[in-house]
């Protein structure tokens, strides 16, 4: 572009600083949110993947089982196979640390097998500790990140208490695991010591295999796979990593979509600001055309304006995005509070390509927003535009046909299945609903004007007339409101539905008064019969129900599911959505109740049978019902505790649900329980506390969502402000005329506020409608497909009403403020200006 052109167009942005800076802000926010989500997840996944590779080392194949592991005789059986050059057994345990909230990932290893397969895991004894101290059962070696998390100085000999069952054992910290790098929090100790310490003698959780040169991996995988008991798989290390990446994919895509929507709102803002600017500068463009500028040049100039805005916004967004990501790492960790990547401490890195791509997104947003205004400007006929100076060229025809098409498309898209676990069609349906709302806007605005007005004050009639006279401008100003309100309302309804359903679910899942827990189910604390007997002997306890949670691999290629054994005998013991609670019938397969995720992922229904691998055996169950489970995204199977114990002989217990005798003092009994086991080793919570904590975690997970919602509303409001600022300055003569006719300045202001409120009302009403529809898609399609859980639709009517009222009031205030500048001009000058 030539210099004069650059001055003419790009510099034109400086003449409307408010509109330009708000557009810039919106683009920057959209880019920043998108980039931050991407950066955070890339870093977290990267570090998570590094952790997997660290564990896999140079392995060609890995044999994995459930969290509780498998028979360790399998190790020797595989190690002697002709395909196998080297094999390394690992027992991975989440060691509960007494007095700590976090658990520590402990790898029980055979140091003699590490060099050939996983050299990075080799423990290095501290100065003065013997080379083979790593064989001693009370020695533990910490990675730098683990030592830092525990606040241990590796130079000093330290003692580390860990918990197994309800017993505390003290280990000697004897060195480091330098190969683990800085981001992996883990500990290494001798396999035999770990097996005994954590009560896992005879079990390991994985075997890493290196094959002989020349052995084809897939052939070996099949041959070795035939030797494995049910529930144990042999995988290529990459597929394990892919499985892990899949875990958080739906969550990531959801966040990415929110960022995309923020960016889209930014596009709207650019569009509305440019559209109005074009309207205001008609005369200027007509002159330019008359002076010989071609259409293409004019168009290019306007696009350059948008691109310049997008570039600035994109650059600001890239900076802001890195800032946000850094803040998120500090405050909520690498999974944005969702709990996917435990024990991983990712570090923020600058990714040039990612930054460049997101900067380019900003430019694209600027260009997209300017596209139609630029086209319209290029089409104008110079002679006419020169004469009709004040006439806005904006036209908005009702688009009922397009609207109907989008509605039909949305309905059809909702019926499609997810693609690779991501509800692509669902997102497309949301886009269709938004588009339908925007297409409906002009028609709705026109209809609204025709509504019987009744009598009213002059400003009221004027405002209505204005709405009727210039629907195009209203459309532009209100479109942003529609979009942002729709999104905010949709999110609000979805979160409310989720929260209400979760609360309800918690009440069903936690029927007892007190819960005694030796550790989170994945970690090394547990209760045994002796502990249960001690609890039963306490006075004031009416009944106790043990709960056992284990992990199973139901089918190759699927993430492990949870097996939940608890007393299930009466209706209400599980939050069922299908089937019923029935006792086991003699001779028939024992009943199992599957969570919705299992029903979806394994395509099971009530009445089907399912083979469950338990301790190397396949046991057949009949699906008696489907229940709702918000706690285990990969799915859960619930079986009656007695059935489970009879089949498995496993008498360990993770949680104990305790019902108190009438008149028993819950606080006193909680105290007594803590005294019994020591407050460092067990946690006692009331059902109410667990509920409160769960809801707190829920709110934390949705923190990002709340933030995005606020941003969307802010952008919508900003849209109103910039539109009205632009309109107001174009209407200076009108205001001057009104002042001549006897309007006070305050009355003109009220007129503007009213116009803003009317427009916002229209937008809010349409936005609410669209939002309700989007919320339905979120609840019934997107959530169901992403996380495989259903929820009860719930509209927070009161909250939405307040939200709508506040938004309309804010819009009125924004319009009034935006017009303030134009109203300041002396009335006479304003009227004379154009003559």
């Amino acid at each position: 572009m030539s210099l004069p052109l650059r001055r003419l167009f790009v510099a034109g942005l400086r003449r409307r600083p408010l509109g330009a800076s708000l557009s810039l802000l919106a683009i920057a926010l959209g880019v920043a949110l998108g980039l931050a989500v991407q950066l955070i997840h890339d870093a977290a996944l990267d570090e998570f993947g590094r952790g997997l590779r660290l564990l896999a080392g140079e392995a060609d194949l890995q044999v994995v089982g459930p969290r509780e592991g498998f028979d360790d005789a399998l190790y020797a059986a595989l190690a002697v196979r002709p395909e196998v050059a080297a094999a390394s057994p690992v027992l991975e345990v989440r060691a509960r640390l007494p007095g700590h909230d976090d658990s520590l990932r402990v790898l029980g290893v055979d140091i003699f097998r590490l060099p050939a397969v996983q050299p990075a895991l080799l423990p290095v004894p501290a100065e003065g500790v013997g080379q083979f101290a790593a064989l001693e059962p009370d020695r533990i070696f910490l990675s730098a990140a683990a030592a830092a998390a525990l606040g241990l100085d590796m130079e000093q000999p330290a003692r580390l208490p860990v918990q197994s069952g309800v017993t505390e054992h003290v280990l000697r910290v004897s060195g480091g695991v330098p190969g683990a790098g800085s981001g992996q929090a883990l500990a290494v100790m001798d396999l035999a010591g770990a097996q005994r310490l954590f009560g896992h003698v005879g079990r390991i959780t994985r075997i890493e295999l290196r094959l002989h040169a020349g052995v084809e991996r897939e052939t070996a995988r099949r041959a070795l796979g035939a030797l494995l008991p049910p529930g144990v798989e042999v995988l290529a290390p990459e597929s394990a990593a892919a499985q892990a990446g899949g875990v958080s994919r739906a969550y990531r895509v959801n966040l990415g979509m929110l960022a995309a929507i923020a960016l889209l709102t930014g596009v709207f803002l650019v569009f509305s600001s440019q559209m109005l600017a074009v309207a205001r500068r008609r005369q200027e463009f007509a002159f330019l055309r008359a002076l010989g500028m071609t259409r293409a040049e004019l168009r290019r100039g306007l696009l350059a304006e948008g691109a310049a805005l997008g570039l600035l916004g994109g650059m600001a967004g890239v900076l802001l995005g890195h800032g946000l990501a850094a803040l998120a790492f500090r405050l909520v960790g690498g999974d944005l509070g969702a709990g996917y990547f435990d024990g991983v401490r990712p570090v923020l890195r600058f990714e040039p390509w990612l930054a460049l791509a997101h900067g380019a997104l900003g430019v694209a947003a600027g260009l997209a927003g300017s596209w139609i205004p630029a086209r319209d400007a290029a089409r104008l006929v110079p002679a006419r535009a020169l004469r009709a100076a004040d006439e806005t060229a904006l036209e908005a025809h009702p688009r009922w046909g397009a609207c109907a098409f989008c509605v039909v498309a949305a309905v059809l898209l909702c019926a499609l299945p997810p693609v690779g676990g991501v509800p692509v069609a669902g997102y497309a349906a949301v886009a269709c609903i938004l588009a339908a709302a925007l297409f409906a806007l002009p028609g709705v605005a026109a209809l609204a004007v025709r509504l019987p007005a009744g009598s009213g004050a002059v400003p009221w009639r004027l405002a209505r007339a204005r709405l009727g006279a210039a629907p195009g401008q209203i459309v532009v100003a209100v479109a942003g409101v529609v979009a942002s309100v729709a999104l905010a309302v949709a999110m609000a309804i979805m979160v409310a539905a989720f929260r209400v359903s979760l609360d309800d679910w918690l009440a069903r899942m936690l029927p007892a008064d007190l819960y005694l827990q030796a550790s989170p189910s994945a970690a090394s604390g547990y209760l045994d019969d002796e502990a249960l007997a001690r609890v039963a002997a306490l006075p004031g306890i009416a009944a106790q129900a043990p709960i056992r949670a284990r992990q199973l691999r139901l089918a190759p290629g699927h993430a492990p599911v949870t097996l939940l054994a608890r007393p299930i005998s009466a209706d209400g013991d599980l939050p069922l959505v299908a089937g019923r609670i029935a006792a086991a019938r003699p001779g028939a397969d024992p009943p199992v109740w599957i969570s919705e995720a299992v029903a979806d992922l394994f395509e099971l229904d009530v009445g089907d049978t399912i083979d469950v691998p338990l301790d190397g055996r396949l046991l057949r169950f009949e699906v008696a019902g489907i229940w709702r489970d918000y706690a285990r995204q990969h799915g859960a199977l619930a079986v009656d505790l007695e059935t489970y114990r009879a089949l498995s002989g496993d008498r360990r217990v993770n949680d104990l649900a305790i019902r108190l005798a009438p008149q028993a003092d819950a606080a006193r009994i909680a105290e007594a329980l803590l005294d019994l086991f020591g407050e460092r080793t067990v946690r006692v919570s009331s059902a109410g506390e667990i509920r409160a904590l769960s809801l707190r975690i829920f709110d934390r997970s949705f923190m990002v969502t709340y933030l995005m919602e606020a941003v969307a509303v802010l952008i919508g409001l900003a849209g109103i402000a910039t539109s009205f600022a632009a309109l107001a300055s174009a209407r200076r003569r009108e205001f001057g005329m009104l002042r001549h006719l006897g309007f006070t300045r305050a009355e003109v202001g009220r007129l503007l506020a009213l116009e803003g409120a009317l427009g916002a009302m229209l937008g809010v009403a349409l936005g609410m409608l669209a939002g309700g529809a989007v919320a339905w898609v979120l609840v019934e399609v997107i959530n169901r497909q992403s996380f495989h859980w259903s929820m009860d639709f719930h509209v927070p009517v009161g909250g939405l009403a307040i939200f709508a009222a506040v938004l309309i009031a804010l819009a009125a205030a924004a319009a009034r403020l935006a017009g303030a500048h134009a109203m300041r001009t002396a009335a006479v000058r304003a009227v004379r200006e154009d003559w």
Binding site: F112, F132, L135, E136, D190, R196, G202
Partner: protein, 373 residues
């Protein structure tokens, strides 16, 4: 042969494990070193029983060294050693992985065409069927390497990237008991002793693969089997040991232990005549003196690779002077990257009056500085 044993031990992984055990027992911990049975004089060795493992003792090893000749007349040395260590760790742990017994192995081939040793090692906790030792007959194995007695011969197998061998070793007679009927003292203090016998004059046949070329080989070898709970004498820094098959059918084993300044602390040996009758050589009867040194370009260690050895032959009542000459100078085992052990273990010829009268192996430890334990 006490010195030989201890020397080898010092130079290997085993030593570190021993040091670990010793450290646990002695270095300030109030744990008694006890728990290992002592080595006492008067124990009657019986075969094949005592060819097998004695897992109660702290350490035990089977050490095979020998000379091989292929059809083209090329001479090479080979070595394969299995160590067993009782760690006293996890003996009450029911886990199959409890590291109560460790099995370690070294194997090496000395090929003058290559100029230096080809060596490899294996280490594992005893865990059937991957690694272990058998009681009642000689059988030790780890990760595909093995040494086993059966059908009147030993079979030694080892394979690594650079070499592999599969050899049969047939003894010509009963085992040669060292020291006092197999009770071999390591020091003036009899607390430092081992049970120790040798099988010299093993007739070797089998295959050897070096540099990708597999050849049929034949030769003669020597097996040492020794077990002990006793520690290396205090003040010992290293040792020198030989085991030589004499061309006349006899055998000579001799060792000495050195202090840090090179002063001999203890020496002993066994000389077996043509007729198979063995005589124990006491401290006065064995005298080593270096005659030529070689410096390792890798470690900088300076080894006396050629020796003069004076032995008083009690039966003939005369002193005999031997010369020890290496097959090649560079037979240093440098495993600093894995175990940190550096020692010299190589094929040598024994000369008397300038004439070769036997071939065997020489081991020298403690020349590359005291090993980090």
């Amino acid at each position: 042969m006490q010195k030989g044993m201890e020397g080898r031990c010092f130079a290997s992984l085993v030593c570190m494990l021993l040091a670990l055990a010793a450290g646990r027992a002695g270095a300030g911990d109030d744990v008694e070193p006890a728990g290992y049975p002592p080595v006492l004089p008067g124990y009657q060795l019986a075969f094949p029983r005592d060819g097998g493992a004695h897992p109660d003792f702290r350490t035990e090893w089977w050490y095979v060294t020998g000379w091989l000749e292929d059809a083209e007349g090329a001479q090479r040395g080979f070595q394969i050693t299995f160590f067993r260590v009782r760690t006293r760790i996890g003996e009450d742990n029911p886990s199959r992985f409890a590291p109560t017994q460790l099995i370690l192995a070294h194997a090496a081939v000395a090929d003058p065409a290559h100029g230096r040793l080809l060596a490899a090692e294996r280490a594992a906790r005893a865990l059937s069927p991957l690694a272990g030792v058998e009681q009642g007959r000689t059988h030790a194995w780890v990760d595909g390497w093995s040494l086993a007695w059966g059908d009147g011969h030993y079979r030694a197998q080892a394979a690594d990237g650079a070499f592999s061998f599969d050899l049969r070793l047939r003894p010509d007679g009963p085992p040669m008991l060292n020291g006092e009927d197999g009770f071999s003292r390591k020091d003036a203090d009899p607390a430092h002793a081992s049970h120790y016998y040798s099988r010299p004059q093993l007739v070797v046949s089998g295959t050897l693969e070096v540099g990708g070329r597999r050849v049929e080989v034949a030769g003669s070898a020597w097996l040492d089997h020794e077990w002990s709970s006793g520690l290396m004498p205090p003040g010992a820094h290293g040792w020198d040991w030989i085991g030589i098959n004499l061309h006349d059918g006899g055998a000579l084993m001799a060792f000495r232990m050195r202090a840090e300044d090179g002063r001999p602390l203890w020496a002993a040996g066994t000389l077996r005549g043509q007729d198979g009758a063995a005589q124990a050589l006491d401290e006065q009867a064995v005298h080593f003196s270096p005659s030529r040194h070689w410096r390792s370009p890798r470690t900088g260690a300076r080894y006396p690779v050629a020796w003069r050895l004076e032995v008083t032959d009690g039966r003939e009542g005369r002193a005999r002077a031997f010369e020890i000459v290496p097959l090649m100078d560079d037979q240093e085992l440098d495993s600093r990257r894995s175990t940190g052990a550096v020692y010299w273990e190589g094929a040598v010829r024994l000369l008397e009056g300038g004439r070769e009268i036997g071939r065997g192996y020489l081991e020298m430890t403690g020349y590359a500085g005291r090993l980090r334990m």
